[in-house]
Structure formats: structure tokens, C-alpha cells
Symmetry: C2
Subunit: 705 residues, 2 copies
């Protein structure tokens, strides 16, 4: 009895685990992605700080951690403690003077080049899938194609390691895109342990959609924004059933990351957003200006980067990825070190730009002249220096970002775009603040910006600028606004953010029609059917289907009357992945569709096992065998492998509707009939080529694998 109750308990547990396996998988994806993201964050901080110096207490401490364990740190100068030694201090014994500066400079370049070299060498040696952001490939996978190994264990390991190295080296790359890829790898690896998801391709894609949400969620600690990102940008068919699961996984991942707490004490997200000011409707004008800037930057970036990628392909650079990475790295490090705003990492810079000036803030950016209140002080010497440095940093970041993307290391476009926008926004914000201070009697500003009131927050301009530039590059709107809303945590800021991102999307769209990810998909020639394109063209299904008029007739099988030898000859002489089965060659009435793979397996099986099957045997796809002369070899019955309900459309179907059907039902091919007669076939590849043709692009640029 004991063993029986044990068994039934086991069975009960099994049935529950089956019912909840989807939720369990989501929980595991969230935990794993959160843990990996935490490990990435901690290691990145440590390696980034290693470029500056080392902790004497233990080399595995980063700067912040090293000094926070020290009790000799005062509140204001938390970043100076005797335990943390810059390389110059360690080697020359002093941190002052030209020689020490040179030592620091050289060590900075040495580590940067070392990290970059390791990253590109690892990518080159082990995981070519690890380069780039991975989002274009994930979009293509979710639209129904298969890249072998792209989401495997090996890619997960290599991408995680090289991403840490690339970000730490100081290259103008972010870790948001690669985090989405890493989260999808986690999900795919975990899927293999669940029978339900290993076998069902559609269910696995739902899990990958959720994983994309998880990736953004851990990147920005923004679970709602992550789900919307997956919905708006990444997923092809976002099933509403998975909405709740995605949200759950994104939330679990964000909490996991948060509880391992890599962001340090007191912070609530990757950026240290710290302001609580409101805004005035008049400020919508500068916000829209930032939107225009963001749109122009997005268009410039996409055009210039794609042109640069074409140059790379056609010159020697493309054949020596290691050399290219080292060249870009050397240039970046050489120019970045002298300017404090480019020397720090992108996330640190964003935190500084998103942080408002309180009275006790001693940073250069807050170098206002002393006044009796935080509000509206005139700019001081420090601020002027900071503005110059920021302007130079803006120029540097814009150029370096354009030439960095496309090199063979993991690279996300989010942080570099946001940095450009945040610098521009902060500059505009400081300018507006000074304008309001010096002209507070202007009509526009009189009511809401009297000298005693703190009326303009440069940090808000930085946030809006960051959103605008990211929007111009990626063309996200709602998801971007929600992500930034979750980062700042203030719903008052939704309106400026939406105004800027919408402007930026329109402006960028006027110059370059698609976003960066889709531009990359086109550049790489992936067979991706854009879910938002509408076809205005008047073509019909018969114009797109194969065979064309000049081609040989469509290769079909008949449901009876063909011998095994004839079938084998037909299969051998063509390379189609499936064959329609018709009643007879004359009537062309469609019976079903059989896949090449299934056909080959069945024939092979029959030849080996079924006695008497020879090349002269009749192949039957129909239910009832016709009577046949005595002594004929036995039939080969293949009705079991026949798909009896293939998808058909009429040859007069407008292509607009056809494309819609392919998208919504996720078809790979569709048979075309005319008055019940089989005429031809349309594959997804035909459709992608047709759409490229309509858009006046070269249809042969579409990748054929």
C-alpha cells in the first residue's frame, strides 16, 4: 500500500508538473536569465574598473565595492579610498604629474586592447553566432526560419563571455541587444528539458517571445516595457495566451537580478535617475526639437552604418575581423581617455546625465555659481568646462558608434544611441535653463519660471533626448516610452517621452523607411517578411507563383498510376522540399501534399522491410487500391504520409491578402488553384522576393539557404 500511494503521488505530481510545465519553464527562464544578467553586470563592472586601477584588498573587488568596505571613506568622496590604487599609483607611486598620466593612459589602452582582442578571438574561434546584437536573427527565427546552433549552449557561453569583454573594453557597444539573445539562448536550452516544448516548434517560439521580454526586462529592470518590446518589435505572432507568462518571466528575472543586486546600494535600475521635477507645456517645443534631432541621428546612423558595412564587405577590412576590431578599439581608447565623459562606461555616463543637480552635488556638470537656492543659478566655470567636454564627447560618440557597429563582437545599439541622445538633451537642457534664467521676464516663461522657482530640469531633457535617439534608430514607440517610464518611475514624463519618440520616428522614417534591425535583416538577406508592410501593388497570386510561364511544368505525383521507379526519378531530378499529389495529370484535382523528407523515409523503409516492393510497384496515395492484373508486384501505400489538408488559394487572390495569410497563419508554402485545378505553388521565399521587387530592391539579395 505504501508503494502504491507513493506511485499515485508521483503520478499526481507528474500530471501537475505537466499542466504547469509552461509556468515552470517560465520561472526557470526568469531565474536563469536573471542570474546570468547579474553575473554579466558584476563582471562588467569589475573589468571596466580594472582599466583604471586595482583594489589592494582583493583584486576581485570593483572600485565601488572596494571603497564601500573601507571605513576611511567620507560621504562626499566615496570614490577615493586608499585601498583603491590607480595603475599609476601602483607603478610610479604617485597619481600626479605627466608621467603618471601617461602610465594610466597606457594601462587603459593595454587593458582595452586585451579585452577587445580576447572578445574577437573567442568569437572567431568558437562562436560566429555571437557577434552583433542577435535581435535581427531572433526576429527571423520567430518569423519561422531556423538557424542551426544560433540559440545553443555554446552560443550562450561564448556570447556571455565575449559580451562582458566587449562592453568592459570601452567599445561603443551596449549589452541590451546581446542580453536579449542570451535570454533566448537560456530559454532554448531549457526547452530541451521539457518534452512538450522540445517537440512543438510553435510552442518553443512562444517561449522565445517571452525570453525576448525577459532580456529587455533585465537590461533595464523594466518588465512591462520588456513585454511590450517583445510584442511590438521582436515577435511575429505574439499569442495573447503568452502575455501573462511573458510578464511573469520578465518579473521573475528582474527580481532575481535585483536581489543579487549588482547595481549597488540605493539604485533601482541600471541608471541612477534622480529628479522629481514637473514640466510645463511650453517645454514640449524643445522636446520635439530633441525628437527631430533623434530622428536625424537615427537616419544618419542607419545610412552611414549600412554604407560602412558595404565598404567593409568589399575591402580588405572584411577579411581581417581581428585587425578591424583592434583598430577600432585603439582609436576609441586613444580618443576616449582624455575626456572624462568618454572615459567612463556608457551606463555610468547615462547615470550622470540623468542625475539632476542638487545643492550638494560637486560634479562639474552642476558647476553653477553659488546662489541661495538650487533654482536658477547662473552657469559657473565648472559647467562651462563640462559643456565643452560634453560637446566633444557627442561628436566622438557619434562617429565612433557609426564605425563600431558591424565589427565581430557582441554589440547592442541601445546604450550607444541613448548616450548620443542624452548628451544632446543635457546640452539643450542646460541651455534652456540659462535662457530661462537670463530672460525670466519673457512672456512665455514669466508665469511658470520666476527666478525663485526651479523650472527647468536638464536631466529630464537628457532622458527625453536618450529616448528620441533610441527611437530614431530602432523605431520603437510605445515600448520605448514604457521602458523609460519604468526607468524614471514618474508618469508625468510619459507625455514628453511620447512626443519626442513619435517625432523622432516620423523624422527618421522620412529618410530611412525601416529601423536598424530591419536594415540589418535586409543587409544580411534573411528571408524575413516584415509584419507591418502593406502591399499596395495590384499583383495577383498567379503572378508570383511558380512555375512561371517559361518554366517547366509543376512536378506533381498522381494518387495512383505511378510506379515507385517513376516517383524516385521525379524526386531525384528536382530539389523541391515537397510535392503536391493530384487525382490525375489531366484533371489536376488536388488530393494532398507530401514532404520530400517523409517520402524518402517511407520509400527507404518500404524497400528494406516490405517484401516484394520493387521499382515497378505502383505507388498509391488513395484509400482503396484499384484492381490490378495478377502477378503484378504489390502496391506501396503511402496515404499515411500525405497531408490531406494542404493550404490552397485561388490564382486570382490579390497578393496583399496572400501576404496577410502567410503572415497570420505562419505558412511556408501554399498551393495555387484555378477552378479546382492545381496550377502552382507559392513559397515564403517567393513572397519575400516579390516584396523586395516591389520595393525596387534586388530580389536576388534574399538569402537562400
Amino acid at each position: 500500500i505504501h508503494s502504491k500511494s507513493k506511485e499515485s503521488l508521483w503520478a499526481l505530481l507528474l500530471s501537475i508538473s505537466d499542466a504547469f510545465s509552461g509556468w515552470l519553464l517560465m520561472l526557470l527562464v526568469g531565474l536563469m536569465a536573471g542570474a546570468v544578467a547579474a553575473a554579466i553586470d558584476i563582471t562588467t563592472h569589475w573589468l571596466t574598473d580594472m582599466k583604471d586601477g586595482v583594489c589592494l584588498v582583493g583584486f576581485w573587488f570593483n572600485h565601488e565595492h572596494c571603497c564601500s568596505t573601507s571605513n576611511q571613506t567620507t560621504f562626499l568622496e566615496w570614490d577615493r579610498c586608499p585601498q583603491w590604487q590607480s595603475w599609476a599609483q601602483l607603478i610610479t607611486g604617485t597619481s600626479q604629474g605627466g608621467f603618471a598620466y601617461m602610465v594610466d593612459y597606457l594601462m587603459y589602452m593595454f587593458w582595452a586592447l586585451l579585452f577587445a582582442f580576447l572578445a574577437v578571438a573567442l568569437v572567431g574561434a568558437f562562436g560566429s553566432h555571437a557577434s552583433g546584437s542577435g535581435i535581427p536573427e531572433i526576429k527571423t527565427i520567430l518569423s519561422g526560419f531556423i538557424f542551426r546552433g544560433f540559440l545553443g549552449k555554446w552560443t550562450l557561453v561564448i556570447k556571455t563571455v565575449t559580451m562582458v569583454l566587449a562592453v568592459s573594453s570601452g567599445l561603443a557597444v551596449g549589452k541590451e541587444g546581446p542580453l536579449v539573445h542570451v535570454a533566448c539562448c537560456c530559454a532554448n536550452v531549457l526547452c530541451h528539458h521539457f518534452t512538450k516544448f522540445r517537440q512543438n516548434e510553435a510552442k518553443r517560439r512562444e517561449v522565445l517571445s517571452a525570453a525576448a521580454a525577459v532580456g529587455v526586462s533585465v537590461a533595464f529592470e523594466a518588465p512591462i516595457g520588456g513585454v511590450l518590446f517583445s510584442l511590438e518589435e521582436v515577435s511575429y505572432y505574439f499569442s495573447l495566451k503568452t502575455l501573462c507568462r511573458s510578464f511573469f518571466a520578465a518579473l521573475v528575472a528582474a527580481y532575481t537580478l535585483h536581489s543579487i543586486n549588482p547595481f549597488g546600494s540605493g539604485r533601482h535600475g541600471p541608471f541612477d535617475v534622480n529628479f522629481h521635477a514637473d514640466w510645463h507645456p511650453v517645454e514640449l517645443a524643445p522636446f520635439i526639437l530633441l525628437g527631430i534631432f533623434g530622428g536625424l541621428w537615427g537616419a544618419l546612423f542607419i545610412k552611414a552604418n549600412i554604407a560602412w558595412c558595404h565598404t567593409r564587405k568589399s575591402t580588405r577590412l572584411g577579411r581581417c575581423p581581428v585587425t578591424e576590431v583592434l583598430l577600432v578599439m585603439a582609436l576609441t581608447a586613444l580618443l576616449a581617455f582624455p575626456n572624462i565623459y568618454t572615459r567612463m562606461s556608457g551606463e555610468e555616463l547615462l547615470s550622470k546625465l540623468f542625475d539632476d543637480c542638487s545643492l550638494f552635488n560637486s560634479s562639474l556638470l552642476c558647476g553653477y555659481q553659488q546662489g541661495n537656492s538650487a533654482a536658477s543659478r547662473p552657469a559657473g566655470e565648472g559647467l562651462r568646462t563640462a559643456l565643452w567636454q560634453l560637446a566633444l564627447a557627442l561628436l566622438f560618440k557619434m562617429i565612433i558608434t557609426i564605425i563600431t557597429f558591424g565589427i565581430k563582437v557582441p554589440s547592442g545599439v541601445f546604450i550607444p544611441s541613448m548616450v548620443v541622445g542624452a548628451i544632446a538633451g543635457r546640452l539643450l537642457g542646460v541651455g534652456m535653463k540659462q535662457l530661462a534664467y537670463h530672460h525670466h521676464d519673457w512672456m512665455l516663461s514669466r508665469d511658470w519660471c520666476s527666478p525663485r522657482r526651479d523650472c527647468i530640469t536638464p536631466a529630464l531633457y537628457a532622458v527625453v533626448g536618450a529616448a528620441a535617439c533610441l527611437g530614431g534608430v530602432t523605431r520603437m514607440t510605445v515600448s520605448l516610452v514604457v521602458i523609460m517610464f519604468e526607468v524614471t518611475g514618474r508618469r508625468e514624463h510619459i507625455m514628453p517621452l511620447l512626443a519626442a519618440t513619435m517625432t523622432s520616428k516620423w523624422v527618421a522614417g522620412a529618410f530611412v523607411r525601416v529601423g536598424f534591425d530591419e536594415a540589418l535583416i535586409r543587409l544580411k538577406g534573411y528571408p524575413f517578411l516584415e509584419p507591418k508592410d502593406e502591399i499596395e501593388h495590384r499583383s495577383l497570386a498567379k503572378d508570383v507563383m511558380r512555375p512561371r510561364k517559361s518554366d517547366p511544368a509543376l512536378a506533381v505525383l498522381t494518387q495512383d498510376g505511378m510506379t515507385l521507379g517513376q516517383v524516385e526519378a521525379l524526386v531525384k531530378s528536382t530539389c523541391f522540399s515537397g510535392f503536391p499529389v493530384v487525382v490525375s495529370q489531366q484533371s489536376k484535382r488536388l488530393v494532398g501534399f507530401v514532404l520530400r523528407r517523409d517520402l524518402l523515409v517511407a520509400i527507404d523503409d518500404a524497400r528494406r522491410r516490405q517484401k516484394g516492393v520493387v521499382s515497378a510497384s505502383q505507388v498509391l496515395f488513395r484509400q482503396h487500391a484499384p484492381t490490378q492484373p495478377p502477378k503484378a508486384p504489390p502496391h506501396l501505400r503511402l496515404r499515411d504520409i500525405l497531408d490531406l489538408s494542404p493550404f490552397t488559394i485561388s490564382d486570382r487572390m490579390p497578393m496583399g491578402i496572400t501576404v496577410d495569410i502567410f503572415r497570420k497563419l505562419g505558412l511556408r508554402q501554399c498551393l495555387v488553384t484555378h477552378n479546382g485545378r492545381l496550377l502552382g505553388i507559392i513559397t515564403k521565399k517567393d513572397i519575400v522576393k516579390h516584396m523586395a521587387q516591389i520595393a525596387n530592391r534586388d530580389p536576388d539579395s534574399v538569402f537562400l539557404n
Copy 2:
């Protein structure tokens, strides 16, 4: 030249307005819905307060407004000022004593009955579409059906007015569902002024989806939650193109409402949420307990209310809606007045329950004994009274909510459900706080709940409870969490909210499979195909299609060979809304599909205008006319009205996939073929009936209009 440049400017403006007409429409929908919602809010506050008393300065002021203009009001007693007089004060001259109480009681009942009577009389006389919440009907409309007049101007006016009356009267109804209906009416009315949207049914539905988001956005000042609500709950095909537009409209509406500022000074939403406490993982246990309570309440409410609706239908009550409303109103008012928590409106009660106790809060709910800190004080006499009253209020609200829904006034289920949950949550929260106070040395609470720390926030329990009960009734998850997140504004609360709503959804789902809206759709028999149901059944298309085996053969036209007389006879003898056209009766090869309406118009037209067309004329659906004997009457060519690409599926198509195709492509009918021969037809109604049959419900309960 002047007039020419003027003209070209005009043309430019026209083309821009056409390109941006979608955005313009969204802007107008947002502005209109926001303004209507603001008017509703202001009027509701005024009428609600009128049940208590009147403002002597001007009868059109509500209580808060009346006293805030007075300078004799102290900070603590803002609600007592000489300008505001209760009915007893006005009539008897005193507010003390039994007689004054009776006068107040009677006046309260008088106004409540008057408002309820006006509401039901208006609904009965002018707009039967105005009763209920309207969400079930909107879901059905968005799934592709048409209710004439349901979204018209007249419904808009009547629903707005009666909704104000119903909510003000004190009936247990909320205004969230009706606000969604009102927003959709606004959108529909505005659509008529844009050619693009007036003519295109699909585009109009996209606008209605956005309007549903707007409705929730103005109800809770939660634009993101509104968009997710529309996405998750209301919309059938949510096009991602409209995501951004919906968000824009929702945001504009929320800002419009906010700038007209009906919520009074300082508040940021409909409820006065005011606490900033964190929670401890141990508290997930009571939160999940609240989830279970919410699920049980949801299941009980749906079962009991549907049973009550059936009773109503079969008894005299159903024939006298006015009597029923007055009876329910009298019962509600009679029982509600003595208890302060039931006397106030649902929104006011929620504000009170969501508000945490500060040290200076003198309300009964915060009647703790005096201590040296706000944290962990023992319960005082005031709190005990409040708890009793709340417990009675909970019982009362549960019963009255169940019998209220289904009466013929506008009624939303959101606020009443939330009230039940918030009361239960607050009771549990207060209990937990006392438990932690008296047993602060328990192991579980020792670390995080020392006597000096403020560790448990009853207001958070109220919020979680409200979400759980609303989740149990409506089965919303992500959208609900996001709405509550926007209401409280603290992302720390996302996790408890998600835990509670998910638990509540599962628990409620174990008892009643569908949410309240879908239960109503079934009760009313609307032909709605639930977008989330999966078919596990093994039926095929041929089992569902018509004609069945015992039926007469399918009525088809042939592409030639039929005379006008034969066609007319066929059309007259059947009531189908369309006819397939085949090559010949023998081959049954499908050529196209022609709509009954188009056919009748074309025949009528030909008979009147085309010379020589008589009943013996051949009707031709093919391109080239066959040769025919001389002296025969001329042909009638009808190829223009033929849809040459009707949708077809194979008779072996599994119903699971067929349903998916119907849903995703929004089909109303689909032809069924076997080996290229036309066999039958499946309509959406057949599918809805089939699904009802599978779920063991009566297929004939499906509405046939």
C-alpha cells in the same frame, strides 16, 4: 498668383490631413472622450453629494468645492463649513438628534430613488442599448458582428446621462465599463466625419480598439493599462500598427481629463493612494490568500449572478424593469445609509481603504492607541468599530452586487468588485498588523518586523485585495496589474499584485471557466468566437460543414447554362447570403462566390436598364461567352460581381486549424472542397455552434439574427 499659391497650400494641407487623418482622429477621440469623462466625473460628484445636502453659495457646487472656496475651513476639518448644509440642517435647523437623522435618511432615499427612476426610465424610453456595461457587445462587434445603433450618437447621449444618474444614486455599479462604451461611441461618431474610416469596416474596428483603451485610460488615469486592457481583453485582432495610436489617444484623453481636473486638488487619479511602504517576501502568503479569496468571489459572483439573471428572465421581474430597479435601489439605500462605509460612493470608499494611516489621520480606520511612532500601535476603540462596520459592509456589498447586475441601467463591474476586495484586503491587513505587533518575536517576523519598524501596510493589502477580486471576476491579469501599478505608481508592488491576480485567475477558473464578460456573451447568445479557446476535439471540417448528409444538396450557380429565371428561382427559394459558382453541376469545380445582395442588385439593374434581358436570358459568370443559337435573348454577364478568390479549405482540415483560420483572418464563411470538388460551406455561426456543442452547451442558444 496669390490665389494659386493659396490653392496649392490648400492641396498640401489636404494631403497632409489625409496622411495624418488617423492621428487626427485619435487626437479628437482622446479629447472628446476625456472631456465627456470629465463632465461625467464632475456631475457624478455633484449629484452624489446632493443626496447629503446642498451648498448655500450655489447649488451647483459639490461638497468639496463648496468648502474649499470657504475661508472658514480649517485644514483638519475641511469637510465641515457653514456653507454646506445637510438636508436636516436646512429643514429642521439642526444636524443633531433622531429627527434630523430621519430627515437625512429620507432625503437620501428620495434622491436615490429619483435618480434610479430617471435612469431606468430614460434607458427604457430612449436607449435600450445603454443598459449594462457594453463591454460584451463591444467584444462581439470587434469580432466582426454588427449591432445597429449600438455605437450611435443617441446611445452616447443616453448612456452618458443615465450612467451619471445610476452611479450617483448609490447603486452598486461602477462607471468603468460604461466609460469604455462611451469612448467607443465617441470614436464611432467621429469616424463618420472621416471618409477613410466611414467606408472601411476594418479600419473602423481598429479605431474602436483604440477607443476601448481610451475608456479604461480615463476611468483609472492609466494609459498603459488601458492599451493593455484593449489588447488583452477587448480586441479581437489587435493590429500592432494601432498600438502607438491607441497609446497616443489614451494619453491625450488622460491629460484632457486631468487638466479639467475633476479629482480635486493634489490627487493624481481616481483613488487617493497614499503609501510608500515596501513589503517582505513572507507577506506573499497573505497576498496569495487574498488571491484565493478573489478567485472564490469571482466564481461565486459569476455563478450567482448568471443564475439570478435566469431567474429574472423566467419570472415577472423581467417584464417590469422599472419596478426591479426601484426595488433594488430601495433595498440598497435602506441598508446603505446607516453604515458610513456603504453610504459613501464606491470610489470614495476605495480612496479611504487605499489610504494609509499617518500619525495625524483622525479617521476611525486609523483609530490606533496613541504611541510614540506611527509604527505598530495596538488597535484602539475606533479601529474596532471600523472593523465591525467594514465587515458588515463587506457582506452587504457582496449580496447587493450580485443582485444588482443585469438590471436595466448602465453598470460597470469594476468598482463594485474592487470594493469587495479592498474591504477584505484591509481587514486582513489590519489583522496581520496586529498579529505582527502582538507576536513580534515570532521567527517569521523577527527579522523584518521589530516593534519599532513600520512593517505591514494595511492599505497595500486593500490594493492587492481589490486587484484579486477584480481579477477573479474579469480574469484580467497583465492589464490589471499594470492598471493597479499606474494607480499606485510604485513598481515594488507589481510582484504582490501579479501573485494575487494569477492565483485569483486560477482559483476562479477552477470553478467557472470564463470571465464575467464572456459569461454574459453566452447568456445573451452573441455569436462570439472566443479568441483563446483551443479545440482539442478531433472533428474535421467535413463534420461541421453544411449541407449535412441528410440535408438537400448545396445551392450552387453554374458559370454558364443557367437562365435568369432559374437563378431568380434559386435565390428566392433559399435564404443564404451568398452562392458559390461552379464550372458545372457535374464537375463541381469552384469558380467563385457571389453575394446574394450583389446578385439581386445586379439582376434588378439589368432588368431595368439592359435591353432584351428576360427570364430566358443566360446568366454568364465566365469571361468568354459561348456561341449560342441565333435569336436567343442576349446574355446577362455578371463576372464583375463575382469574388474570384473565395477562401477554401479541404474537407479533411482539422477543426482546430479551421477555427484558427477563421479567427486570424476574420472570415465569415469558407468553402469546403474535396479533391478540387466543392462539397459545402462553413460559416462562423456553424463554428460558434460547434464549439458550444463541444463544450456541452446548447448549440441552439446561439443567437441568430
